[in-house]
């Protein structure tokens, strides 16, 4: 992670101060703000499915309760029409909204704090131009005592380090641009970095994967077994741009991120992100767990289920088909410590994102009606210890837990 120093922060702010003199209504500035809102995937939360752009209303299920993304259109009463530029800066950089009201970190201000003042104000300029929509949203639907916003002052003290991104002079401009986007506006760690009990980022293991909303957001460090170490820079570029590459296809929450954000980024920024991620982490191989022996009964059962239900698409070799059926052999997700996503897609199925570059949008069917917990566990154990893959066996109890949780909130 980047080291921060007070001096550097002041210097950086000083450098960008000149930008304040720009015409806030110029097309270039508003267009840059629109693009930054794409980088930040603002629509992902603030636009409800089928709703007016940025008029709020998408409910986020957090481990602590429900938060609803507010209306950020310029409507003065129900949106942010009355917000000053200073308020807007404080919101993104410090998590303090209107009248100093403290935000919950479902709004990823711990990441947005890395953004330059100029970028934040360009976004502000853009949001001032979108159609105002009157749509009152009750954001805070958390239970007591978490609904007391002042509690966040305490949380921030433990988990939040405000401050702008500091370039690493040892690295290239492309690398630094990638780091800025990943750690700042794109807030990748919000999903991909493991969390403390209080929901703060465990920054010493940044981007090594985390579970949220019934999905496991995989390790995106350069680890060759559990992360993206086996992917080339071009694999990453294709994935971010089209939602699919020779290895896999984006689905679940990442499908939304690709659809709203990464597929609309410019090629330079996608390359910058890929450059940074490929240079992030040790780049080694995490310790391999022992492979489950092929003569194990569970492996026998798993192999038979695989042949019957999976091989038609994913093939006997586990190679799948590029841009259509994910490759299981060598897959980071298949070998991840947490089988949440694996159990989920076998039980409920999932649909891959469709993008302009890869419009197919194929889907995995649901098997919950046909395979019991032990059978799902067996086939997952089989794919995790076959074709050179290595990961712990999946227990029927873990599948049962996922089945129960999907029944409650599909």
């Amino acid at each position: 992670m980047m080291r921060r120093s007070l001096t550097a922060t002041v210097l950086f702010a000083g450098l960008t101060g000149a930008a304040f003199a720009q015409d806030t209504q110029s097309f270039d500035r508003i267009e840059r703000g629109r693009y930054l809102a794409v980088l930040g995937d603002c629509a992902g939360c603030h636009t409800a499915p089928g709703g007016a752009p940025f008029a709020g209303g998408l409910a986020l299920q957090t481990p602590f309760g429900t938060l609803v993304a507010p209306n950020i259109t310029p409507d003065p009463e129900t949106g942010i029409g009355n917000m000053s530029n200073d308020d807007f800066l404080a919101t993104l950089h410090e998590g303090r909204g209107h009248n100093g009201k403290r935000l919950y970190p479902a709004m990823p201000y711990p990441a947005y704090t890395k953004m330059t003042d100029d970028d934040v104000l360009a976004m502000r300029a853009y949001f001032a131009t979108i159609a105002p929509v009157k749509n009152p949203v009750v954001s805070n639907q958390l239970p007591f005592p978490l609904n007391i916003r002042l509690a966040m002052a305490f949380w921030n003290g433990l988990n939040f380090t405000p401050g702008r991104y500091q370039p690493n002079p040892q690295k290239s401009a492309v690398w630094n641009r990638g780091a800025y986007i990943v750690e700042g506006p794109a807030h990748c760690g919000t999903c991909h970095t493991p969390k403390t009990l209080l929901g703060g980022d465990k920054n010493n293991v940044a981007l090594t994967g985390a579970t949220l909303q019934g999905w496991f957001a995989p390790d995106i460090t350069n680890d060759t077994r559990k992360g993206i170490g086996g992917w080339s820079i071009d694999d990453l570029v294709q994935y971010l741009k089209k939602g699919t590459n020779n290895w896999t296809l984006a689905s679940g929450p990442m499908a939304e991120a690709v659809s709203h954000s990464t597929s609309q980024m410019n090629d330079d920024d996608i390359l910058a992100i890929a450059t940074y991620l490929k240079d992030n982490g040790e780049g080694g191989v995490s310790a391999k767990p022992a492979v489950v022996a092929a003569n194990n009964n569970v492996m026998h059962a798993g192999a038979a289920i695989y042949k019957d239900s999976c091989a038609a698409c994913h093939k006997d070799s586990g190679q799948g088909e590029a841009n259509l059926f994910p490759r299981l052999a060598g897959s980071a997700l298949v070998q991840s410590d947490d089988p949440t996503t694996l159990a989920r897609v076998v039980l409920h199925g999932t649909r891959a994102v469709a993008t302009a570059g890869a419009p197919t949008g194929p889907a995995m069917p649901a098997f919950d009606w046909r395979l019991d917990d032990a059978q799902v566990a067996a086939v997952l154990t089989y794919i995790r210890s076959n074709w050179g893959n290595a990961a712990e066996a999946v227990s029927a109890t873990a599948v049962a837990t996922q089945r129960a949780s999907l029944a409650k909130s599909p």
Binding site: L324, G349, A354, P359, P362, F367
Partner: protein, 587 residues
């Protein structure tokens, strides 16, 4: 009372192959396009996932994907002396229903017609003399040539990713392909499917008897493929569940696997499902359509105004809608005058069943269009002098599957049930195969479609009435072709052989094919056609029937889909490049 919707540029009736292709081609130009589809939305992952798509009882026996007679049906009689009765259970042919239409449940056989097929009457009269054709045969030349359609066949095959081996690339004969086919501008997009033992044995026998076998062109893909719309198809798994089934592996070409993912990205395209168009509305002159009226599932009637109306329903329902809307003059079989409903034709099929000795054919390893075929007896590929008939068809081994409920081959004389039947099934299943002929059905004065005087549909509109029977020409042809096929089958050294040439009368309760053609035929002369060479109505210039099988002047010895797709692209180009610039009659 119909509620009026905001006007669109284009309204499409039916979202199957032609509807999807036209919608894509016209939405691409920026036009606002709406498709109105009688049946439900259908999607690979939700409607036929591989987790349960291979359900023979649901799809092949109970016909889950097909039109229900209570939605829409037609009446049938063999000839004008009979009273037609409604078909209350589809069995002789199976119209599709819902988004994708017949493009979902087809087998994937992707054939081009022969160059001489497009000049059928002038070619046959030129070679055999006018007297060779029966007086009541109403075949006619197409208003387009093979050379004109070739680039559009090529486009449709590239859309589908069709697997096959070319026999003629720009006039150069290609080893291993069909030596009789018309020229192709390029090789098939994907290589031929793998062949099983049955097809291999047939091909050996065909070669031994002096024929030229080749792999059937198949839109069940031999390998993964990305089509020109950027949509990716998977590799066929030879599961043997094609005809009557949707493909859960993204391996069979369909509107779902080839067009819809790209089409749905256009914000200027929308689809209205479970809504049936009841009428095309005309202005006071009767020369211009103003849009369509449709009814949704709640019974609400809607008027959808549009500048262009595209009739993309299954062939029967294009004819019915045209008759109900007063477009074109209805055909009168007494006088031979009128055109709408004229030249209904079908397909003439037959089979030769064989049981081999000591073979394990594994017939369940199959696809809809896998197989080895010969084309020596199709169209005018052979000399008809002295044979007493014209026309022909392809024949060969085309195993589409050997599913457990409906595939129960047993030797002659086996009881129909009980222990002996079970024993015979077990002993025969691996050794039996059925060879088939698939031949032309030419058009006749007394084979036609009109409105039924008695029976009405659920909206109170007259049902379409079919008057059809096989003619001597087709029955003689079937006998000749079936004899030739039996000769090849004998060279496979069978222990039992049963040849079943087609016999009359036509029986609408026994499944033969769903290749129902004609009724809104295209032609060069308004006195004998409903549409001009661009599939445009002669009478109402903003109504097109862009390529459905109802535009065929007669049916040839091949499956219709490739020609349907080629004509869809041909018509789309005419609309885009000519009609939009200067709306009016194109001929």
């Amino acid at each position: 009372m119909a509620r009026k919707l905001p006007a669109k540029d284009v309204v499409i009736i039916g979202l199957g192959w032609t509807g999807a292709i036209l919608a894509y081609e016209l939405a691409k130009t920026g036009l606002n396009v709406v498709a109105i589809e009688r049946g439900p939305w259908r999607d690979t992952a939700t409607d036929f996932p591989p987790a349960y798509a291979q359900d023979e009882l649901r799809y092949a026996v109970r016909l889950d994907l097909f039109l229900r007679p209570e939605q829409q049906t037609l009446t049938f009689r063999n000839n004008a002396s009979q009273t037609a009765l409604p078909i209350r259970s589809f069995s002789g042919f199976l119209p599709g229903n819902g988004v994708g239409g017949a493009g979902i449940h087809w087998n994937g056989q992707t054939w081009r017609f022969l160059p001489t097929d497009f000049q059928l009457r002038s070619h046959l009269e030129g070679r055999y003399g006018k007297a060779a054709l029966p007086a009541d045969m109403t075949i006619q030349d197409w208003p387009v040539t093979y050379d004109e359609l070739e680039p559009y066949y090529d486009r449709f095959e590239k859309l589908c990713g069709t697997s096959g081996k070319a026999g003629n690339i720009r006039g150069q004969k290609q080893a291993g392909g069909n030596p009789f086919e018309g020229w192709r501008s390029s090789e098939y997009p994907t290589p031929p499917l793998k062949q099983g033992l049955g097809a291999t044995l047939f091909a050996e026998a065909a070669r031994k008897t002096g024929h030229s076998p080749f792999p059937q062109p198949a839109s069940n893909l031999s390998e993964a493929y990305v089509n020109p719309l950027g949509v990716k198809l998977g590799q066929c798994t030879y599961c043997g569940f094609c005809e009557r089934f949707g493909c859960g592996n993204y391996a069979k070409a369909s509107p779902q696997t080839c067009v819809l993912p790209a089409l749905l990205r256009f914000p200027n395209f929308s689809a209205q499902t479970e809504s049936e168009v009841t009428k095309i509305n005309l202005d006071s002159t009767g020369k211009r359509a103003t849009g369509v009226t449709y009814v949704d599932t709640s019974g609400q009637e809607w008027e959808q105004p549009a500048d262009i109306v595209l009739m993309c329903a299954f062939s029967f329902f294009n004819v019915q809608l045209m008759l109900l809307s007063g477009i074109g003059k209805p055909y009168d079989p007494q006088t031979g005058q009128g055109v709408v409903g004229r030249n209904y034709a079908y397909q003439t099929t037959s089979s030769v069943s064989v049981i081999l000795k000591d073979k394990i054919l594994n017939p369940f390893i199959a696809t809809g269009a896998h197989g080895m075929i010969i084309d020596d007896y199709n169209g005018d590929n052979f000399d008809h002098t002295g044979l007493g008939f014209v026309g022909g068809g392809y024949m060969g081994f085309g195993q589409t599957g050997a599913r457990p409920i409906q595939t129960r081959p047993v030797p002659k004389g086996t009881p129909k049930w009980g222990a002996e039947w079970k024993k015979a099934t077990a002993e025969t299943y691996q050794r039996a195969c059925s060879l088939a002929t698939h031949a032309s059905s030419y058009s006749y004065k007394d084979c036609y479609l009109d409105l039924d005087p008695t029976y009405k549909d659920r909206f109170g509109r007259p049902l379409l009435r079919m008057t059809f029977d096989f003619h001597d020409n087709e029955l003689k042809m079937s006998a000749y072709l079936t004899d030739r096929l039996a000769e090849i089958a004998k060279a496979m050294d069978p222990v039992e052989l049963v040849a079943s040439p087609r016999k009359g009368p036509y029986d609408s309760t026994i499944y033969q094919t769903t290749h129902n053609t004609g009724g809104t035929v295209m032609g060069a002369d308004p006195a004998t056609s409903v549409l001009n060479r661009y599939c445009q109505s002669w009478d109402v210039h903003n109504v097109f029937v862009p390529g459905g099988a109802s535009v065929f002047p007669q049916n040839h010895g091949y499956n219709p889909t490739d020609t349907v797709g080629a004509l869809a692209y041909w018509a789309a180009d005419a609309i885009r490049n000519r009609y939009l610039k200067n709306p009016g009659p194109l001929v």
